[in-house]
Subunit: 458 residues, 2 copies
Amino acid sequence: MKKTNEVPYKIYLEEHEMPTAWYNLRADMKNKPAPLLNPGTKQPITAGELGVVFCEELVKQELDNDTAYFPIPEEVFNFYKMYRPSPLVRAYCLEKVLDTPAKIYYKFEGNNTSGSHKLNSAIAQAYYAKKQGLKGVTTETGAGQWGTALSMACSYLGLDCKVFMVKVSYEQKPFRREVMRTYGASVTPSPSTTTQVGRKILEAHPGTTGSLGCAISEAVEAAVTSEGYRYVLGSVLNQVLLHQSIIGLETEAALKKYGIKPDVIIGCAGGGSNLGGLIAPFMRDKILGKADYRIVAVEPASCPSFTRGKFAYDFADTGMVCPLAKMYTLGSGFIPAPNHAGGLRYHGMSTILSQLYHDGYMEAISVPQTEVFKAAERFARVEGILPAPESAHAIKAAIDEAEKCRETGEEKTIVFGLTGTGYFDMVAYEKFHDGKMDDYIPTDEDLEAGFKGLPVID
Amino acid sequence: MKKTNEVPYKIYLEEHEMPTAWYNLRADMKNKPAPLLNPGTKQPITAGELGVVFCEELVKQELDNDTAYFPIPEEVFNFYKMYRPSPLVRAYCLEKVLDTPAKIYYKFEGNNTSGSHKLNSAIAQAYYAKKQGLKGVTTETGAGQWGTALSMACSYLGLDCKVFMVKVSYEQKPFRREVMRTYGASVTPSPSTTTQVGRKILEAHPGTTGSLGCAISEAVEAAVTSEGYRYVLGSVLNQVLLHQSIIGLETEAALKKYGIKPDVIIGCAGGGSNLGGLIAPFMRDKILGKADYRIVAVEPASCPSFTRGKFAYDFADTGMVCPLAKMYTLGSGFIPAPNHAGGLRYHGMSTILSQLYHDGYMEAISVPQTEVFKAAERFARVEGILPAPESAHAIKAAIDEAEKCRETGEEKTIVFGLTGTGYFDMVAYEKFHDGKMDDYIPTDEDLEAGFKGLPVID
């Protein structure tokens, strides 16, 4: 049967078809994610406690397990209109080279200067900071994707933006640093002498090139000790998944426009911001029994929180100053290998996704790095887009699914999230081309060492 | 009067609204561009002579001054559908910060991995090479935008792609090199020992870091001496402007969709590929007396072919092996300063645009580099997109126009071409941020030196 109304290469929603509210998956979850705990008292953290670090409205969103829809504020919506809706692309060319009866779609979030989906939450968080009358926000960044997104959002709203960038990245990856400066952010290599915790670390380890854990600590200190500042974070948190639901809602609307029903939905998983956003409305239908989809999380074999982690309370940061979260974790003492998919190098996972995985609503797989880059290159050569290493984890899984369909003859519809572009990841591609990429997989002993950091909380 | 049907932030054509033929502006020009001359005989070059270097179909397109429309081959059209139509963006946010009654639109060509409009012609040229049964194509690249575009097109069509990359860029800008390798191109630093001309240059200048002129010579030699190869070029040529007309045709269709009539059309000008493509249908209406637009070319003050060059026959390359073209030129002996807008560092100009400028159909202005980067940053901070330095020349001129409107109160409609993104130009942005950018403007003596290379042909 030939379709009379053939699906175009790229499905763009019209402006008036764009979702006008974010969807809060927690509202429909049967088992709610376990509450964050105060690291001192081990009691559920209060809005007041969180409000010292985060903006008021964001604290409300963080703690609200009941409200299903949050209207997108007009100013955020207008910003979205500059780079959204993002296209849902039919991968005709990939299907052809794979010679598969499967139909492959990807939601592409890379068509903005930050190069990823991070901007969706950055503008929301900056907006609420502005609305609260704050002067600015602080954050940390590793490779710089989140920092770039936040600096763009802050520059648009006229908000000050202080980014603590892990020193080794600051020095070795100067390009994203310059992008942030273009957007007016102040970028400080971490550890720095501008904070107490930074000075302490520098005293103890004079030659250190920094870590994400240290940068978080500095950013939090800078927020708490400066009048009119709050700290913001780009993944893991419930509020972030809420904002990222725009990805899934647009995907749902685009599919509906052409009467397409997905069979499998695939996303890469680091802290969970992209995956949680992409699957939100599909997971809702699955929980409510309205539809059945396979939902697959893909993580690096070097940092396998879902597939080899424990579902337990753990610190959200390596510095152990942040709240405790119940999640799939490798232990806050786990040190991920220098995997090139920096965005997936996190020991823990969103509490929402952790609960859903625990309850059997999702699958998870892990893939080694070289396989990921092979898939990335294969994809780039036919679909044009050069993917970020993070995104390529989902590509790898989607290609595997499509190849299975070639064997079985099944005409499955596969949807995956292409979170961003790899323009700032060419060092990793170079290693891949030169055969110098390693496929480190942690041993059981490595994992045991990470789990040692787990606090005992029932 | 409030518009009932408000213009969205981004106008996307539907797939079925995309232009299906390229438009050849020469067909409607009253004075045709002067013919290319054989550098040896000084006689108009023949199809046979050009066919040694270029593909047959492309030679036909190069020499055809009469056919107005060339249908876009289906395979090229399908490739276009992967990244086109490109959006025509209403710069609402820029208008707001400029506090101008002007309405500003830009046609954004950067949403593809090559990062610029170059892909529009790369896929066309690769397609005709494939159709002719060739094994592959050769080309040169400086900073790497054209080489990237060509490698993407070749990988899609399964064609071999040999890129000679100026050695200094190969070594200092490894990222674009890796992008090309991702798409399967072989990238050779030039001068190399793989060609006779390369070996000769290396013998004479052992420590040389190469030049575009040298890379062209190597690429041409590699094409001519290899069975089944031809040489391709990313700008200046008539065929390139033909393919790039897709930019202007889409812009025209998008404007018509919302009943918008532009007053001023602005584009940056290096070899003329983007400007010639953007203005094609508008220039047609102007020539035919159907509409009147101001059409403005913007070039760097460091390489001012239109504004300070001569309209004369000159060599198209510094190596003086390519045909002679009648164009606005600074002389093939002119050595442009190391301006960061590498794509605009060309001593000559498209013969089509040169003739039109000579006949009074266009204006041209030149702008200094620091002003260009100021405009780029200002634009990025409100419109989100980080522009390529080349594109930022057009931004600078558009902002100036809009600010004039603020003074006069005129509600002009300004359309400009945003040819690409600056993700691989962060070294230039860094210099700008650090106040280390220079604003070199050639003296009259510098220009005299360049003009010395001009052959005497009437």
